[in-house]
Amino acid sequence: MMTIKSNRPVIVGMFILLGLAILVVTLFTLGGEKKTFVKSFTLNALFTDVNGLLKGANILYSGVKVGTVKKISLYGNAQVLVTMSIENDAESHIHKNAKAKIGSDGLIGNRIIIIYGGDSTGAEIAKNDFLTVEKAVTTEDMMTTLQANNKNLLEITNGFKSISKKIDSGKGTLATLLNDPSMANKLNGTVDNLQSTVANFKAVSASSKNVLASLQDFSGNLNKPGNSMNALVTDTVIFRNIKSTLAQLEQASNEVTQFTVNLKTTSEKLNQKDNMAGVLLNDPAAASSMKGTLQNLQAASHKLDEDLEALQHNFLLRGFFKKRAKENKIDTIIIK
């Protein structure tokens, strides 16, 4: 019994010490969380509205907690001076061109200060500096926008209401479409036509598919070395030959064109009477004169023929003709 009693001070001591240890750990954890034991400096910002920001609220820079709100006081003409306690480690990261705004910790959370922006073009922030403030979108602003949206919705629904009334009363095309049974039949017909069109399209697309497959094969063959088409497509010598041939063809076509032009000029001249051929072709008087001349020539040649026949029988030339007939006879025998 005495042993137990003598142990009591030890147990009580341990009990108290453990309790105090819990207190100390709690205080240090809380201090670490609140940055109480961290060396800090002061920054200021002038807001027109802090939206219920409280002393001790967190300050985030790029989403990282860098301090807490130290003091909130009214300043000048309806402005609020917020004094912030920022840990020294963040001093080198925040620049003078950084901005501050009031934010929210979650949708319905406590108000916080958000420091954002700023780059190396601005100097590093110094103690007791004033940050530029930007007005953040508040819940009230959102509600105002929502109210405007509500009004728009009301107008839209009113519009729909009047449209539905008109439809219900049978006015307009839409009402006819909805209420007239003949329109339904026409629509059915249209849908049937559309169906058949779609079926045709389907068939066409199937054919196109085949054509495409053939084209694909063809292009495959074109790409396959060793065949004539591939050689045609890929051989640069042939291409050069074709090119020169085409050039020659072009030249020939130019010449043909020139020839055609000449031919056209000639034909045009032939249609006119200011030249010999034109007179021959177009002048009827010249034609009848020509006809007479030709008749005369025919008569003259007939007479000449008779004269020459007479000459053959003349004793001066008869020997020549007999000799020639003999030579012809010999040639015929040799050929046979």
């Binding site: 709690t26 205080l27 954890t29």
Partner: protein, 269 residues
Amino acid sequence: MIPAPEISETKPAEKYFISKKTDVFFNDIYKVYKFIALFFKEAFSAPFEFKEIINQCYEVGYKSLALVSLTGFITGIVFTKQSRPSLANFGASSWLPSLISIAIIRALAPLVTALIAAGKVGSNMGAELGSMKVTEQIDAMEVSATNPFKFLVVTRITAITIMLPILVLYTGFIGMMGAYLNIHQNEQTSLIAFFKSAFGTISFLDIFSSIFKATCYGFTIGVAGCYQGYNAQNGTQGVGRAANSAVVLAMFMIFVEEMVIVQFVNAIR
């Protein structure tokens, strides 16, 4: 023979300042004031009963640890379970640690510990001192040149005043662990994330106000228990009444103090 004069059976009518009950009530308040004044006088005057204080600390603090730990653990779990649906409706289950830490550290830990201590320790003090009073042990101590007030009352009140804040720290810690257990089961939150979130919303003032509250509650339980026991009358019935009154008075005063201290802390927050 001269007849003997008749002795009147009726007592002379007592005069009260307001009424009997009202006068008794104010008289009790005065007696409590005198009791507390005597406590401070004896507490800060030599000789100091350190051994008995440590003995009482063991009885009051260490022996209550299991009970308050279990109570705190269950409180943490149950409060978390009950709070989850409300927050889940807002999609804010991640705020549970913050809510639980505010509830346990600011209010539940001191209050639950104090109520448990009032039931266990307050009744024990009332009954113990009451039985010593009715069995005249206290008178015997006075005769034996021992200051019974210093030895019995000062030590007990001092012990519970010191031990209750320590018990509150244990209760808070165990309650938070109970809450963590439940949150980890449901939200798979890590211990670090839980405590980061929990400590994000409370302040030093919350912790110091809890300790201050616990000190006040401890003193109240001690004073109520010792006063009722030290002034117990009418034999064993008086012992029971003293124990009962000690608990009822202590609990009532705890709630009154809670209200006053919360108002005071919120005013300076």
